[in-house]
């Protein structure tokens, strides 16, 4: 059992570069970074500084060149594709800038998606889906298709989908980037609640200083290197 103070994310000497032909574009160089359990971290930095890349590495949807990423007690850099997929399904919730809901599925079905990979029965799945739709305040819209919901509502459905498997960490890449101020505020409050009430760890990439204010901790990424503010 890890100590309460042990970081949930532990990054050591992480490097990543993209290769285009013979050209090598270093994106992250020798990153060291810990995130404590129940933390709300904002990652900021200029465009192209590697924020999304770092987030993707932590979430296990991209692979590092060097270094170690430990999430909980799992060293994810050594996992194969299949194990990594299983690990993501259980341990990480994703929130995207453009919500990434499946347009032909209803709000309910979108939220149910991650549960299809579990052994839960239909009844159990329905209980979980309804519970998280209640948390995001959209239980009454569960039969609506994404096109029938506002941007803010779609993002709340996406958040419901991210938390339905009860993952330890939530990663969000510019979750308010496509929203007006009022909707953005709602989403940020919802994420704050997830941290406070449900003890989630949230890692959020953002350009918006207002969004960053909600976080407990802001990290700046510049030219592939991290700094604390």
């Amino acid at each position: 059992m890890p100590e309460a103070s042990a970081p949930i994310v532990r990054i050591r000497n992480l490097s990543k570069a993209y290769r285009r032909g013979t050209q090598v574009i270093p994106v992250l160089t020798d990153i060291n970074f810990d995130i404590a359990r129940g933390e709300f971290v904002a990652l900021m930095g200029p465009s192209g500084s590697g924020k999304s890349t770092l987030l993707n590495l932590i979430a296990g949807i991209d692979s590092a060149d060097q270094g170690s990423i430990q999430v909980g007690d799992v060293e994810i850099t050594t996992l194969g594709e299949s194990d990594l997929a299983r690990w993501r399904a259980g341990s990480v919730g994703f929130i995207f800038q453009f919500y990434n809901l499946i347009p032909v599925l209803t709000a309910y079905e979108n939220v149910e998606l991650p549960l299809l990979l579990t052994h839960l029965s239909r009844r159990e799945r329905s209980e979980h889906v309804e519970a998280v739709l209640n948390v995001v305040g959209l239980a009454d819209r569960m039969d609506h298709y994404p096109s029938q919901l506002s941007g803010g509502q779609q993002q709340r459905v996406a958040i419901a989908r991210a938390i339905v498997t009860d993952p330890e960490i939530l990663v969000a890449d510019e979750p308010t980037g496509d929203l007006d101020r009022a909707s953005a505020e709602e989403i940020l409050q919802l994420m704050d609640r997830l941290v406070r009430e449900f003890g989630k760890t949230v890692i959020m990439v953002t350009h918006d200083p207002r969004a960053a204010e909600k976080a407990h901790l802001i990290r700046h990424l510049e030219k592939g290197e991290l700094s604390v503010t």
């Binding site: 890349t53 979430a59 949807i61 299949s82 399904a89 994703f94 995207f96 990434n100 599925l105 991650p114």
Partner: protein
């Protein structure tokens, strides 16, 4: 279950695109089935031909006649049961487009050699007794509304003039493949007219039909007949009716092969079109596939999703195509009756149609499935907005 629902909803996402693809596959499958049936029927004539009947003709070509005097000598060949003869008459009814086969034949021997032309004893007898009499097949009679006792006038082409016949009988084909669009009349009627008008063309026949006791005797009897007339003015070529038909078929072999190739090309073309459509569809949904992968779905899940859609679309087209094949074949049988004795689609063709549709689905699904299954998540997610 969930995936089926998802596939179906995806199918209806671009209704027009899906409908057009389904219609395209259906039309291709229909064309494939009809062309195959056509080719099959072309060879069916030869397949149904008797192997106890031989045809003796001029060895130079079918258009050169043989003297009637050969008849008795052929009759004398051991193994021969009966001999009849005939001439291709090539006349038409009223208008040149009313084309059907008509032959001047020696009736008694001919009907004995062709038991598949079924006539009532009375009609048969009436035909034998009336030198100006003729018989026709049921389908031909139906086409022109002829009844027994009607006077039929044909315009001659090879043998010019107006030729009058009295319809004495309507035969019914014993088998489906039996040609029912033929008119037969007395060779002696033609011959007498020729004696009076063009005597040098009289006493000649286009071919002899020779019955043999059993099929095994056919080669022997053929050789015996041909050697009888070796070095005479008109040498003969005798072969089984099947081989005789095949010599017709082989004249058109190249066309049939071409039709067969076309039938496969139709499928190949729709394959390319469907593959392009599926690739387009999959490309549009790349970010969705990446999202699903992010959530923990595996390449196999996505593969099933894309592959399922492509196979479902093509199979729907296949089913529509198969369903359309029957009425289309019926229409051809009725409207193009002069070209085909019958036009029925075999079970084999139906199965091949479905197989063709399935392979369209499989082939068109392969590339997008592979793309979707192997997409790097980070790349797929970027393709948003």
């Amino acid at each position: 279950m969930f995936f089926l629902k998802y596939i179906l909803r995806n199918l209806f996402r671009h209704k027009l695109r899906s409908v057009l693809t389904i219609v395209g596959v259906a039309v291709a499958v229909l064309a494939f089935g009809l062309l195959r049936t056509l080719v099959g029927l072309w060879y069916a004539g030869a397949e149904h031909a008797s192997d106890t009947r031989l045809v003796t003709r001029n060895s130079i070509s079918l258009v050169f006649p043989l003297p009637i005097s050969y008849l008795d000598r052929i009759r004398g060949v051991p193994g021969v049961t009966s001999v009849s003869y005939g001439n291709w008459f090539g006349a038409y009814y009223k208008d040149q487009k009313n084309f059907f086969a008509n032959y001047a034949i020696e009736p008694r021997g001919y009907l004995e050699l062709y038991p598949e032309l079924m006539l009532s004893p009375k009609e048969k007898n009436d035909f034998f007794l009336d030198r100006k009499g003729c018989i026709v097949g049921e389908r031909l009679a139906k086409t022109y509304g002829w009844k027994v006792g009607d006077l039929i006038t044909l315009k001659g082409t090879i043998f010019p003039g107006q030729w009058e016949f009295v319809l004495r009988g309507i035969y019914h084909g014993k088998e489906k493949a039996t040609e029912e669009r033929i008119l037969l009349f007395h060779w002696s009627y033609l011959n007498e007219a020729l004696r009076q008008t063009v005597p040098r063309r009289a006493d000649q026949v286009g071919y002899f039909v020779v019955g043999v006791k059993k099929p095994e005797l056919a080669p022997e009897v053929s050789m015996a007949i041909d050697s009888l007339f070796k070095n005479s003015l008109a040498e003969t070529l005798t072969e089984t009716e099947k081989a005789f038909h095949m010599s017709f078929v082989s004249m058109t072999e190249a066309i049939m092969v071409a039709i067969q190739i076309v039938s496969y090309m139709v499928i190949a073309i729709i394959m390319v079109v469907a593959a392009n459509t599926m690739a387009m569809t999959a490309r549009e949904r790349i970010s969705e596939y990446a999202t699903l992968k992010t959530l923990g779905f595996k390449g196999g899940h996505l593969g099933g999703l894309i592959f399922g859609e492509s196979v479902l679309i093509s199979l729907s087209g296949g089913v529509v195509g198969v369903a359309a094949t029957f009425p289309a074949a019926h229409w051809i049988e009725v409207e193009l009756a002069q070209f085909f004795p019958y036009f029925s689609v075999s079970t084999e063709t139906i199965l091949l149609e479905l197989l063709a549709a399935l392979s369209v689905g499989v082939v068109s699904g392969i590339f997008p499935t592979w793309r979707g299954a192997t997409i790097r998540i980070a790349d797929g997610l970027k393709r948003i907005g």
